[in-house]
């Protein structure tokens, strides 16, 4: 399994033909206390860079973008009852949705963990 990162602070785990998407620990720290997550329904077609989900903190709503093209296969229902999972376990139990991988070549433009860390250090 490989984990990639976007410059919009999403992570994406690739396993075979499916990908799991969430937001990074850095992102949740910037957003603060998350009170609601609006997730795309199964079957939603996503295109790279387009709106995929919305995270609401106490203060503001922020968009989460699709890291690649594909179709949503599952949304994390646990976030409905416990949106704070995004704060406490952003890169594990607080995942957002799973999707198909429409175009594998899009993964090549993403960062690995080391590159993402340097990217955050530079912010």
């Amino acid at each position: 399994m490989a984990r990639y990162f976007t410059d919009e602070h999403e992570w994406i785990d690739v396993e075979g033909d499916t990908a799991t998407v969430g937001i990074t620990d850095y992102a949740q720290g910037q957003l603060g206390d998350i009170v609601f997550v609006e997730l795309p329904g199964s079957g939603t077609t996503l295109s790279k860079g387009g709106d995929a989900a919305v995270v609401e903190s106490v203060k503001a709503a922020s968009d989460v973008y699709a890291p690649i093209d594909g179709e949503v296969t599952e949304a994390n229902e646990a976030l409905e009852d416990d949106p704070a999972l995004v704060n406490t376990a952003p890169e594990s139990d607080g995942w957002f949705f799973r999707m198909t991988i429409g175009d594998k070549s899009q993964l090549e433009g993403l960062m690995d963990e080391g590159a993402y860390k340097s990217f955050c250090d530079g912010l």
Partner: protein
């Protein structure tokens, strides 16, 4: 969080507690032209701490003004719809600056700050009140316009001083009085909500006012900028007191049903529609003589077209400023402030709705990202005020 910040960054100024906030781990953002702390440990934790203990807020961005002179009260009454002349020394009143069209230019606190001059036995003088003076606290984003407005309309015999060499520190929460009493014994013993005293704390000349913007008991302390850090340290040395950012200040005031200038009240809204009729003193409604009187009385006589109301929103998805409010297919209003209430653990909002839909309990819908959320007109405040009103 990042709205309207872009073009301010270049000339954003620092306030007296800037370095202090950074040492305390604040995340700083530009606000009202200054670098301000948006949060320290996190908005929800800070919010809850304030509701349970006491929070220290730096509100030094606000404008502190002193209007003095024999005619200060009557001159202020030309611009404010409240009874200033009958405001006793040491008493505080919420008021508004209103334009000719009845629009709200700003909301503010007025304190009768007329000094008491002690008698001198040797000289044979008795104690008496000095030259009338009124201490105004206005919003940070509007202070320059307010100063220009006051200078233009107040008589030349009245002196307007911008106390820009002063910081303003608020301590808010059920344990604010306990903490402050431990730091400065007996100073606040006899004070109730909306009272103000001057107090020399060692060499620091302070003005302490029992008021605030959270719905809790608390104080706002005006302090010369040079002593602001020491005072903040002194207060935060008390176990009840922690620094709180602007984020929690906003969620606290929203729960308390208190309007935020530039959002819930603007020049496009009038005091009657904004449900701030209490700021229009009865005598002054009848007698007039203040800017905007005619326009405001028209609204009062005819009844407002829209009213500011609270909205309890079903579910967990917050509705933010700008969201449209519907009754069936008809748009009947707009949200002016909205967010998630940490105390109630659900979304709350404030907005203006057509008067026919403004009654408490009216079922409406708020549109967020093309979804309609059921909402009910709710009584303000959402969280009861706990001001210290004395016996």
């Amino acid at each position: 969080m990042s709205d309207d910040t872009e073009d301010q960054i270049a000339d954003t100024e620092t306030l007296p507690l800037d370095a202090w906030h950074r040492r305390k781990g604040a995340r700083m953002v530009p606000f009202a032209g200054y670098h301000m702390p948006i949060q320290f440990e996190g908005i929800v934790a800070e919010h809850n701490w304030t509701r349970q203990q006491a929070g220290l807020f730096d509100v030094s961005h606000m404008g502190q003004l002193l209007v003095s002179g024999e005619k200060a009260a009557e001159e202020l009454e030309k611009l404010l719809p409240g009874a200033i002349a009958s405001l006793k020394p040491g008493k505080v009143r919420y008021s508004l600056l209103i334009d000719e069209e009845g629009g709200i230019l700003d909301d503010l606190m007025v304190t009768n700050a007329t000094p008491w001059i002690e008698g001198d036995e040797e000289e044979g003088t008795e104690g008496h009140w000095g030259e009338p003076a009124y201490y105004l606290v206005v919003n940070g984003a509007t202070k320059w316009d307010d100063i220009a407005h006051l200078r233009e309309h107040l008589d030349d015999d009245v002196t307007l001083t911008h106390m820009d060499d002063h910081a303003l520190i608020a301590v808010q929460g059920p344990n604010a009085a306990t903490a402050l009493n431990r730091v400065m014994r007996n100073v606040i013993d006899d004070m109730v909500f909306m009272e103000s005293v001057v107090h020399d704390f060692g060499e620091w000349p302070l003005r302490i006012t029992r008021s605030g913007y959270t719905g809790e008991d608390g104080f706002e302390i005006s302090v010369p900028a040079e002593f602001a850090e020491s005072l903040a340290d002194r207060l935060c040395a008390e176990i009840e007191v922690r620094p709180i950012g602007l984020g929690a200040r906003d969620s606290l005031r929203l729960e308390a049903g208190l309007p935020l200038y530039g959002h819930d009240i603007t020049t496009e809204t009038d005091p009657v529609s904004a449900d701030l009729g209490f700021a229009l003193t009865k005598r002054r409604r009848e007698e007039g003589g203040w800017m905007g009187h005619e326009a405001v009385m028209k609204v009062l006589d005819r009844g407002p077209v829209q009213k500011r109301v609270g909205l309890a929103i079903e579910g967990r998805m917050p509705a933010r400023e700008g969201a449209s409010i519907y009754s069936g297919d008809t748009q009947v209003g707009r949200v002016t402030s909205g967010g998630f209430s940490p105390t109630l653990e659900r979304p709350i909002a404030m907005g203006y709705v057509d008067t026919a839909h403004a009654e408490e309990g009216t079922e409406l819908e708020v549109e967020v990202r093309n979804k309609r959320l059921p909402a009910k007109v709710a009584k303000l405040p959402f969280v009861p005020h706990r001001y210290h009103r004395g016996k």
